[in-house]
Amino acid sequence: RKAKLFPPVPPLSFLHSFWSDGEQTPESRTFHSAAFCRPAMEINDGEEEEEFEFSRNYFLAKELGGSSKKSGRKISDIDPVDEQELRTAANNLEPKHEREVASLMESYKASYPEWGFMLRTGFGLLMYGFGSKKALIEDFASTSLTEYSVVVINGYVQSINLKQVMVAIAEVWWDQLKAKRRNSPSQAQQPFNSRSIDDLLAFMDGQEADDDKSFVCIIVNNIDGPGLREPESQHLLARIASCTHIRIIASIDHVNAPLLWDKKMVHTQFNWYWYHVPTFAPYVVEGVFFPLILAHSSTAQSAKTAAIVLQSLTPNAQSMPIESLYAASRERFLVSSQVTLNSHLTEFKDHELVKTRRNADGQDCVYIPLANDGLQKLLPEINP
């Protein structure tokens, strides 16, 4: 049934062929599946059923997308409200189920001892489930992990310098070490920020600690976030996580987040222990860098932006008809030289009021990337 509907997906079929083909050369990466008899009891029968449901849904959705008449309605038909109003409204939304969410968060407190135990046994905790888990994880850390230093990395921030983070972690670990053995003379230290990444890793992995049970805990909010999505960042995080004196707690939200890691990272470096902890808390900080869809694409909005830009320009630039060329501008005594025109145009280009493209004859042409209705709205505004 599955085979009919589901064409083999590469990674799966790769494995399956290993398990089902008994006939392979000894040199090949063989596993004699014949050595394993059929499982005495299929525990995951129900799961396969569900999996089948998922694949069926995929094809149904694809079919629906293809066959049904597509609605031609535009976003602008919604008639979005003024952006400022929209943002104000978005900031003042009344949260739903506030009480229930709070008590759900409260209910996780009972699991804190277990989480702490798993962390101390050497696993990395990976929290997933719908809702922001930032508050939950940080509350856990500040109630149950007080004997360890805790560093928080916010993956939802756009850019993160992991080297800086590592320096901070190393400093914290150094403080922790120093506090542990007060009487021993502190050895001369090269400042951490001038050390190489490998040195820092070696320091965090080192055997310098008298008791090797102590560690620094790193919380990575949204390890799948935009600031950490690069493979290099993930590899580095994995190397940090595998250090002896580091434990990691991370949260993921994106359904494809597990694709960030290969098996080495999952099983030997991060050593993930999955916890399903839906909180239904709103994704506030996590969503900051996502645009609001209705604030983004409406023509009214671009017209408004354009008006703002134009208003703030010098009078000559404001009153200049954009589509005219140098000659026309000169005719009207708007610019006196090509250089001035260019400087005006550069200003427009920078703010995407005009764009250039090359026509069939190879000439550079200036155009306004605004829709007609946008322009219509714009003109009365700048020429009252």
């Binding site: 394993f36 694809k62 850390a141 805790v150 921030v157 993160i160 239904f280």
Partner: protein, 817 residues
Amino acid sequence: GSIETREVHSAVAFVSARREWLDGKQNERVEVEAQKTESGLVPTHLALGSCHRGGATSGFTVSEFTPAGKLLVPSGSSSKGLHLHCCCYMEPFTILHKASSRKTDKISTGTGKSRTTRRIDLTASLPASTDISDVNAAESNERHYSNMRMEAFEAVWSSTESSIKDVLREANATIFSEIHEWVRDSFDTIVSFGVPNFHEATQPFPVVKDATSKQIFTGLVLTRNIEFVDDLVTFEDLKQHLKSQGCHVANLSSVDFSSKNGVGTCLRSLLGQFVTGSLDTADISMLATWYKEQQNNDNPVVIIIDDMERCCASILSEFIHMLSEWVLKVPAILIMGVATTVDAPRNVLPSNALHRLHARKFTFQSLPEKMNYVVETAFVKQSSEFTISHKTAVFMRNYFVHQNGSVTSFIRALKIACAQHFSTQPLCFILHWFLRDEDNEVPQSHIYGLSQERMLKLAFDLPSWKSTNNQITQLSGETLLDGLTQLKKLHKTWRMVVLCLYEAIKGENVQLLDLMCEALDPKGPFASQFDIGSRVLPSDDSTSQKFHSLEKNKGLINRAIRRVKELPANQLLVLMKAWEKHTVDVPEFHSEVKALVLSLLKLEENGESLNQNKVEMTNTRKQALRGHLNGADKNLRVANEKASNLVDLMVRRYMCPVECVALHEVLCFDCVDQLQAALIGDMRRRIQMDLQDFHAIIRCSCCSKRGSTILPSMPDSSIMYTLAQEHGDVVNVHDWYQSFKSVVLSTHMVSKRGKSRSKQHSPTPKKRKTTSELSQPSEASIQARFCKAIVELQVTGLVRMPNRRRPDYLQRLAFGS
């Protein structure tokens, strides 16, 4: 987190300036930068999060997100004075707190609320210490006990883990020494090409001789694993082995050979492993210098590349060329892990690089063999008594066969099971007690925070104890001790039987894990007589006999029994000798096996003498001889029969699955669901299930009447997600919005109805107030909710923003049930 507010009179702030700013030191710098961009558009990364967060709405307007994630703030707001709320949420990283030596120091900074709940938790989990009124004392006690439990876990797990590691290392010992021998031979050959003289050695360029001296000795190691995770462990062991033999060893992985960074990365990584101190440039001449500086140059440099096929071919070949030029100065020997076939280098590398390689093949143990070692060590020959239930064993087996295929992950799964056992089972410390072999003393429960009475109560409340020992009323420490001793004994004999059975079918390409699953089954055909409640052997064997015959053709246990019956004399003797070793602890069997061994030995002697006689025999005596041979056959058959009966008896009398023994909960892990959840996070499905069945999770009263209807009280994201189900793979934003709006507005229809009803019945002023507040939500707020819900669906990766080609459609990325 603390939210700091600064008022900035110009509308600019760059992220780089932000930190100083929080310290309140460099306001000037911020302003200087502000003057630079007086165009009216302000690029800033700033903390919008706080605007949303605190509810204290900012005095500035954000008009645009640029693609780089910057915000454009119109200049109009600057005249009013821009309030920027900075808070730690937008920091890339923060230090939440530093380690405190005493826990109580830190608690004071927490909220009072969490503190009280913690106290409640503690008293709930520690009924024995209710008399301790002081929270801190209770807390420190609890911490102490959890440390003790942690110690117990570490003792139990490390005994298992170290024996597994040892057995895996032993399994590779032969091949490791073979590799080492080859490394030595290769090194001698390299040296025989000529050692550079002092002058040559100090020059920063390679020594060039003839072509043969440029060859790199390369060991191609067939790892025969499915997952390269297992290879890593093996190569790490190999590295340690070679190091212990004096070689200089470095590990490189395919990450070092990525096309992105060029050959410099792998050189740097290589140098980093040999040369201490920081490296500004990576150059192979540095490696040569380093090698020259070594005390004695009698040792080769071995470079292990984990997974050759995953390396970038051009970088690898460049690396090989470089090494081969320098081989006389740096006697490097390559060991490359190959996952598929020995042809792999031919497929990956260009021919000029291949010519530089002088390859030899090595083959590691296959995965099933390794797996058998691991299972044998962990469950059958283990030093700790920790074990898993039948269900768990089947799950782990399926996880290995169908999902993972790596020994490392199997061990990891076992560790998770063990850790979960220690975190959930209050009597887990008894495992530590078993490990320490203090059989004649009642376990010291108080050091783990349990009074003895409490321990006894917990133990005698275990389902397995209750169902077996109803009649025993005297519940004392001795009773527990007896129970535990019995448990240990039965577990031991079970392992003995499994080991004997495994010996019998070892040669037939059988997985011990399969056999174990079968032997663990408390409902299996052989376990019926061990049913909880009748541990004494039933006098009438007919029922089990029936089962036996029914299942005759199935299962590995039956196969083992049959095989024992059919074994030829010499193999039977080997098997019996193995059994003799395994059965030492059960004298009854030991003596019988011994007797069998003796009779087989005699048989063999006779056979040998017969064979010798055969040569000298004359035709006339052949007749008599045949008779004699028949007699030998008969003797063998008798021996086979005896052995088969023996194994049959063994299985039926001693192979008691652990789940049939009283008190087994103490050492047997059974929460298979928990294990599965921790091991396999089903991200994609669970997120969608959360949105669909949110009511099961948050348990609110308003959304309880769930059918197929979408209720407006549901979380917006849930409404949106459910609505999206009706669309294909792309969703028209307008249509989606309209249906969302109609759902949202339906609240007010319902509440209006409710309002009129409530007015009729009880027009209390309070109610009137609440209902009158439920005015129609403004268009702006509906739109804002819609946008927010889409953002949430984007964060979870369920939809993707419109692209330029389809500006009015959102793409669905996951298709739930």
